[in-house]
Symmetry: C2
Subunit: 416 residues, 2 copies
C-alpha cells in the first residue's frame, strides 16, 4: 500500500519557536485522499540533516512531501540542496517569474529586488507547481518510482498547492484504497472507565478495524478506522460497528461527528432557531471566540460581554457592588447576576456566564486557582455550578470553555 512521509524543514521547529500545524493539515488531506501517512519528520536548516532525511524517508515511503526552507532569504538552503539531490541545475522559470512580477505589481505595489528574482529559479529536473498565493513556486520530483514534492512553509500557500495540484496529481500517479474514519465525542467519563464499558465490544472488532481513544479537555473521542479498495463495503462495515459503539456510550455521547464542542452546541442552537450570548470574566472572551470560529455563527450567536474588572461587571452587567464585595467575583451569586445582566443587555434566548480563577496567581484559601463558577440558562431559569480544574492558565481556560458549552448543551436538550 502507498505510504507517505512528511518532512518539515526549519530550525524554528527544533527550538520550539513555532508549532508545526502544517503537517497535521497535510496528514488530514492525504488521509482523506486514501494516502496513509506513515511518518512525520522535522529537521533543521542544515544541509546534512535535510539530505539524510530525504535518503531515510525514501526508504520508508513512496511519497515524500516537504515544506519549508523556500523563502527569499539566506537561511533557506532547501532549493540548492534539492537541485543537487536531483542532479539538476537552477534555471529561471518563466511562469514563476511572471507570478512574482504580478504579485509585486498588483498586490504589493513595490519594485522587485534581486532576491525576489531568485524566487523564480527552480531546478531543471522538476515539474513546477505554480503558487497562486505567494512568490515561491512548489517543485515536483520523481526518482526511482517515488514522488518528492517541495512546498513553501507558509500555511495558506502550502494548502493552496496541496488542494489545487498535489492531491489531484498524486491520485493520477498512484492507486489509493479508500480510508474511512468515524469519530464520536463523549463527556463525563474517563478513558479507563470508557475502555471498561466497551471492553467486550473491542474484542469483537475485526483485525482490520482500529479503535483509538483520544482524550482531550476532559472529554474522550473514540475513533474507528478502516481501509479497503471497495469503498461501499468498507463504509458499510464501519458504519455497523460505529452504530453499536454509539449505542454502548449513549449516556455519555456528545456527538457522533468529528467536531468540537462549540460546533455541537452551535448547531443545536441553530437547529432550534435560538441564539446565545455570553458573559465572561475569567475566560476573557475565549467562549465567544470559540463560537465565532464557526462560519455562519451569526445565526446562533449575538454577542458577549467580557467583564474582566469589577467595574465592567457593575457597569455592563449590573452586578451589585455589594455582592462583589461580600461574595467576591468568583461566587454563585455573582455568576448568576452576570448571566441575568447579559440576558437583559443582549436579549438572546440562552446565556452562558463564567467567573473563576485561572492562575497562576489570584488563588484564595477557600477559592484556589482553578475554581470556576459556570451559569447557564434562559429568561425563565438560570442554573449555576462550581467546577475545579487543576492545570495551568491555558488549560484551565480551555476546560472552562468546553465545559460551559457542554453544560449549556445539556440545558438546551432538557429545555422543552
Amino acid at each position: 500500500m502507498t505510504q507517505a512521509s512528511i518532512i518539515t524543514i526549519g530550525d524554528e521547529l527544533l527550538i520550539g519557536q513555532v508549532i508545526d500545524t502544517n503537517s497535521a493539515w497535510m496528514a488530514q488531506q492525504l488521509n482523506v485522499a486514501g494516502i496513509k501517512v506513515i511518518r512525520r519528520v522535522a529537521v533543521g536548516d542544515t544541509w546534512d540533516e535535510i539530505w539524510k532525511a530525504l535518503d531515510e524517508e525514501s526508504t520508508h515511503a513512496d511519497i515524500i512531501l516537504i515544506t519549508g526552507g523556500l523563502g527569499p532569504t539566506a537561511d533557506d538552503i532547501t532549493k540548492p540542496l534539492l537541485t543537487k539531490y536531483f542532479n539538476g541545475k537552477l534555471v529561471i522559470n518563466e511562469g514563476a517569474l511572471q507570478n512574482v512580477k504580478n504579485i509585486f505589481e498588483k498586490v504589493l505595489n513595490k519594485p522587485m529586488i534581486e532576491s525576489n528574482f531568485k524566487q523564480a529559479e527552480v531546478p531543471d529536473t522538476c515539474k513546477i507547481i505554480q503558487n497562486k498565493r505567494g512568490t515561491a513556486p512548489g517543485m515536483w520530483f520523481e526518482k526511482d518510482g517515488k514522488v518528492f514534492v517541495s512546498m513553501p512553509g507558509v500555511p495558506y500557500e502550502m494548502k493552496g498547492m496541496m488542494d489545487d495540484y498535489v492531491i489531484p496529481e498524486l491520485s493520477t500517479f498512484f492507486i489509493f484504497p479508500h480510508i474511512t474514519h468515524r469519530t464520536l465525542l463523549t463527556a463525563g467519563i474517563g478513558e479507563s472507565f470508557l475502555a471498561e464499558l466497551i471492553k467486550h465490544y473491542e474484542g469483537t472488532l475485526p483485525e482490520h478495524i482500529k479503535l483509538a481513544y483520544l482524550p482531550n479537555y476532559g472529554m474522550v473521542r473514540l475513533r474507528l478506522s478502516s481501509r479497503g479498495f471497495d469503498r461501499i463495503a468498507v463504509e458499510k462495515e464501519v458504519q455497523e460497528y460505529f452504530e453499536t459503539l454509539q449505542n454502548l456510550v449513549t449516556e455519555h455521547l456528545v456527538t457522533n461527528l468529528d467536531e468540537p464542542m462549540e460546533k455541537v452546541t452551535g448547531k443545536l442552537l441553530a437547529a432550534r432557531h435560538k441564539t446565545v450570548c455570553t458573559a465572561e470574566s475569567c475566560t476573557g472572551g475565549f467562549i465567544a471566540h470559540l463560537l465565532t470560529t464557526i462560519p455562519g455563527s451569526s445565526a446562533f450567536y449575538d454577542g458577549s460581554v467580557v467583564s474582566y474588572s469589577y467595574k465592567a461587571k457593575e457597569d455592563l452587567l449590573h452586578v451589585s457592588k455589594e455582592l462583589l464585595q461580600t461574595k467576591g467575583a468568583v461566587s454563585e451569586e455573582v455568576v448568576i447576576q452576570m448571566a441575568k445582566g447579559a440576558l437583559d443587555a443582549i436579549k438572546s434566548d440562552y446565556v452562558i456566564a463564567v467567573s473563576g480563577i485561572m492562575g497562576p496567581d489570584g488563588g484564595l484559601p477557600d477559592k484556589p486557582v482553578g475554581t470556576v463558577w459556570i451559569a447557564v440558562g434562559n429568561k425563565n431559569k438560570i442554573v449555576a455550578q462550581r467546577l475545579h480544574f487543576r492545570f495551568d492558565r491555558e488549560r484551565n481556560t480551555q476546560l472552562t470553555a468546553t465545559n460551559a458549552l457542554n453544560i449549556l448543551r445539556k440545558f438546551i436538550l432538557a429545555d422543552i
Copy 2:
C-alpha cells in the same frame, strides 16, 4: 556535541486529528538547557514503526525522548514494546501503584478497575519517573551510552515530568554547552525587504552565529543564535551583534524580546498605568482572549463588548440603527461609534474597535471578504483605518487582532 531527538507516538498525529504541541514545548525546554534537538519524528501506534524509529533515532542522537502511547487502553502498545526493546519484563512498581491509588481515592473518588492497576506496571530495566499529575509513570532507559525517556502524551503530565526530573537528570548525565537566542519582532516590512535592509550586516556575522527569519501574521521575527561552553563570552558576543541588528531595523521594531504582540501592547499599557477595552465584531472576542492569555492582564485590561449582531451593536454600544442601515456594519462610521460606545460603557483609557468580514461568506462587491475597519483611540481622539486581508477565516481573524494591537501600540506611543 550532545544531540536529542523527539519521537511522538500516536495514529492521531498521522491522520492529522491532533496538532503536536508537545514536541515544540519539549524542544524549547531542551534548547534552554543547552541540548540541541536535531530531529522530531512522529510515528503511528504500530509495533514495527515504533521499533524502527527507536533504532533510527539512536543513530542520529544521544538522547531520545518519547511521548504518547502510555494510556490505559488497548490501542497503546508502547509499554510492551519498550519492555522488549530494552530486554526487560513488566513488573508492578510499588511507588507507581501508590500514586494510581492516591489519584483514585483523593482526586477521582472512584474505585479502581483492572486497567488502572496495569498503569503501575513498568519494565524492570528502567528507572521510573513518578507522575505527580496523572496515573501513567514515565520510564528512563540507558543503552550504549544513550538515554531513552518515555513519557505520557498528556501535555501537562509530560511537562511536569520534564521540569521535575528529565531536564535536571539529563544535566547530570551529559555536559551541555550554553545556547543563546535573541529575537526581535518587526512589523510593516516584508521578509525580502528586511533581508535587503540587513544584507551587509548578515555578511559580517561570524560562521557560528546564525540568523533566522520567522515571518508570522504579516510581521517578521529575526533570531540570532549561538552556542559555546563559555556562557559569558557567548552572550556578550551575541548581545553586540543583536544591538547592531536592532539599530538597523529601528523603524520597524516592535520588541527586542521573544514575545507576542499582545504582550508588547499589554506591557506598554501596564507601564503607563493605563487600561484598554475592546469592541469586537468580526474577531468575536479574539482580541480580548489574546490580552487575557497574559497572566496579570487585569492590570491593563478592563473588559470588552463582543457585538456580533446588529442588535448587540445597537443595544450594547449605542451604534445608531440609521448608520448601520446606510453605511453597513463594516464601515468607518460604525467602527468609530463602536469605539466610542465601548469607552462610554467601560471607561477605560484606550479602546480598540474592529468590524470586518472574515469569510468564507458575507463578502460584498465593494466590501470583499477580508475587509476590516479598525479604530483605536481614547476619550479625546479616535482614529480609524481600513485594512484588507486575503486569507481564510482563521488567518484573517488573527491578522486583524495582531494588527489592531499594533495600531493601538503606535497610538499609545504617539499619545503624550
